[in-house]
């Protein structure tokens, strides 16, 4: 078992984990703050991917440049969706909010199918790779790692420093108390959901380089977001990053030693074990029902 291959496998896992963290970051924020499982998250990422592909094929806009505009667009869409629909059921039991977002997901899925057709498409742009001796690291995944760190850092900064951030943390901790302190909870929910959609948008634009974008990938993205949130832990900003890296490395090592099929099983197995042993996840805090 030569060392270079093992290093490569571990690094593959870390870079894959960074991608998973990007995918899960927005989902974890919405679940953590609004206590809503957003089944739309996968479709939002794919929608951003389609937009990035169209921008690339029509006007040659580089996906890395497209990230911000697509993100902002989804931010507006997310905020509107929250204000119009989700805010009205946000304190209903889990089954209600989950079913609502599932219904919305069917609408968005059908709309994307009609608008973009299911043929997989991709931004045909090779960002090349970084070779360090035996070990090879693709640039697009390194960018994903930087993006994951940036998103985590941005969120950490916003939640720590800005007034909006403090309000979001307060709402997450105790909704009633926060509203008593004069925080307009509905507005915070709208902005938080918008922020979650923004992160989906940015990640989707980047994903258009890494993966072929097609509507039938929405389910897989959602599945990974579930696992990352549970493994990493809700309610903490670095949770998505920790969960993503843990899942990425587990799947990579599992795939290497036990074969690709085992990798997927290991991912879910890791989640189930953590769900039972530490429901709050690696970095999560107690009292997070």
């Amino acid at each position: 078992m030569d060392a270079a291959l093992l290093v490569q496998v571990v690094l593959n896992g870390i870079l894959l984990g960074a991608l998973y963290a990007c995918i899960a970051a927005g989902f974890s924020l919405v679940w953590g703050v609004l206590n809503v499982i957003n089944m739309l998250h996968g479709s939002l990422i794919i929608l951003a991917g389609y937009l990035a592909c169209s921008l690339w094929t029509e006007w040659q806009v580089h996906p890395l440049a497209a990230m911000l505009p697509v993100g902002l667009l989804l931010f507006l869409a997310g905020t509107a969706l929250q204000v119009l629909l989700i805010n009205r059921v946000v304190d209903r039991p889990v089954l209600t909010t989950l079913t609502l977002t599932f219904g919305l997901d069917m609408v968005l899925y059908n709309a994307m199918n009609a608008a973009f057709e299911a043929t997989p498409r991709r931004v045909t742009l090779e960002l090349g790779r970084l070779t360090l001796g035996e070990v090879v690291l693709p640039w697009d995944r390194i960018v994903a790692m930087l993006l994951a760190l940036a998103l985590t850092g941005l969120l950490y900064g916003v939640l720590r420093a800005s007034r909006l951030g403090r309000a979001i943390v307060a709402v997450r901790m105790d909704r009633e108390a926060a509203s008593l302190m004069g925080i307009r909870v509905a507005r915070i929910y709208a902005l938080t959901f918008g922020l979650g959609a923004f992160m989906a948008g940015v990640c989707g634009a980047l994903l258009a380089v890494v993966y072929p974008i097609t509507t039938n990938a929405t389910g897989q993205l959602l599945g990974k977001a579930f696992i990352v949130c549970v493994v990493g832990g809700l309610g903490t900003v670095p949770g998505a990053l920790a969960g993503g890296l843990a899942l990425g490395v587990t799947e990579s090592l599992g795939g290497h030693f036990l074969g690709p099929q085992a990798a997927a099983l290991l991912g879910f197995g890791l989640m189930l074990v953590l769900l039972v042993v530490r429901p709050t996840g690696l970095l999560g805090r107690k009292g997070y029902e």
Partner: protein
């Protein structure tokens, strides 16, 4: 609860169920009615649309020529399609609806191999012939269904042709790595490949299967790189193959021969990969460049390709279009030979059919699969699909991947 409310609810329930009983059974002039369950939404929406286009091309030609010759009269053809949403339960419901309510004479099969078996199960009970256009694994035809036929030749034909071409044109290739998708067709073609490689004396250095919705190939590819293969063979759907090819470039995994089954046969493969698609090979059941003598409604392979381009469809037709249209060409020939719409007679005609079509010769074997024949091996060269074999239609030589 007040009586009125109860009565209200009970009658609503009963009315709903009865309303369904008297479904519309329109009586129309006698026509050849063909039922087509298509995946217009869900995972196979992309492939379902191709079948829809191909069926329509055939339908326009046949009805333009006055219909199908049945005995002494020509019958117009009516194609009834429903979207089965790439969902097994919906596929079996639609099969029942087409047979009992729409009273179809013949059925075409859905795209998915598994869903083909489900529809075939329903049709077998009613004795309605089913002609599948995209099922090529023996496991689809292993339930002894007498009414199920398929225009694709068995997988073994593909891999033998592939190994022959590579051994002939690149004799230096010895070490083979195989990565298949755990799914009906991709898994059986991967198995045929490993078998063909062993029979040809090649050394199998990597053999694994990846799960259905894989989002990353880095671990199998890294292992494959360590095995230093001369020939990398990957099977799966376009989405998987595009991702795998891209990650091979990312991780510096390469080999003189890279085969991705049926990737290059699809236009989207080359479009999504651009330069990375260069010199990737595939075996397939048909390619537009193949010219076959045909006494069918299209006249010739060129006729079929021109029809396709006349519809302003992007690029050229691929094997899915051709095999789908060929299925209806076979149905037409069988109905004409049987001289009646009687299902048992049409089945017998299909079973004994020997026909030259734009898609190639069609002759259904004992289990209903189209007989094996020399299948085209193609390679993407300069962004275009080039036929490497069989000999008469060869357009170029096998180029190693840089």
């Amino acid at each position: 609860m007040s009586i009125s409310l109860w009565f209200q609810r009970a009658s609503v329930l009963t009315a709903l169920v009865i309303a369904f009983a008297a479904a519309p059974a329109q009586a129309t002039a006698e026509t050849l009615r063909i039922g087509a369950p298509l995946a217009l939404t869900g995972g196979l929406a992309d492939e379902g649309r191709k079948q829809q286009v191909a069926y329509d091309m055939w339908l326009r030609r046949v009805n333009a020529a006055g219909g199908v010759q049945v005995g002494d009269r020509k019958l117009k053809v009516e194609l009834i399609t429903y979207d089965y949403q790439t969902n097994e339960q919906r596929a079996s419901q639609i099969a029942e609806k087409l047979i009992t309510q729409d009273r179809v004479d013949v059925l075409t099969a859905p795209f998915g191999s598994g869903h083909t078996k489900v529809v075939a199960g329903v049709a077998e009970r009613y004795g309605v012939p089913v002609v599948a256009s995209v099922a090529s694994s023996e496991s689809v035809f292993n339930q002894g269904y007498r009414y199920l036929f398929g225009t694709l030749a068995p997988n073994a034909g593909l891999t033998d042709a592939l190994v022959a071409v590579v051994k002939a044109q690149l004799p230096g290739v010895r070490r083979v790595a195989v990565l298949g998708r755990e799914d009906v067709f991709p898994k059986s073609i991967a198995a045929s490949m490993t078998d063909a490689a062993k029979r040809a004396g090649l050394e199998l250095v990597y053999d694994a299967l990846y799960p259905v919705n894989t989002m990353d190939f880095s671990s199998p590819l890294s292992k494959m790189r360590a095995a230093k293969p001369d020939w990398i063979f990957v099977s799966g759907y376009t989405k998987d193959l595009v991702l795998a090819r891209k990650q091979m470039a990312d991780l510096g995994v390469s080999a003189p021969v890279i085969t991705m089954i049926t990737g290059p046969a699809y236009r989207e493969f080359a479009e999504s990969l651009g330069p990375l698609a260069e010199n990737v090979t595939s075996a397939t059941w048909w390619a537009p460049a193949l010219t076959f003598r045909s006494d069918d409604v299209f006249g010739s392979t060129q006729g079929f390709v021109q029809d396709f381009q006349a519809r302003k469809e992007k690029g050229e037709p691929d094997y899915v279009h051709a095999a789908a249209a060929a299925a209806l060409v076979a149905v037409q020939a069988a109905v004409t030979r049987a001289g009646s719409l009687d299902k048992a007679k049409v089945r017998a005609a299909l079973a004994s059919l020997k026909l030259d079509t734009f898609y190639g010769p069609i002759e259904f074997g004992a289990n209903g699969m189209n007989a094996a024949r020399s299948l085209p091996i193609v390679q993407i060269q300069g962004g275009k699909v080039v036929v490497l074999s069989p000999e008469p239609m060869r357009q170029g030589r096998l180029l190693p991947v840089r």
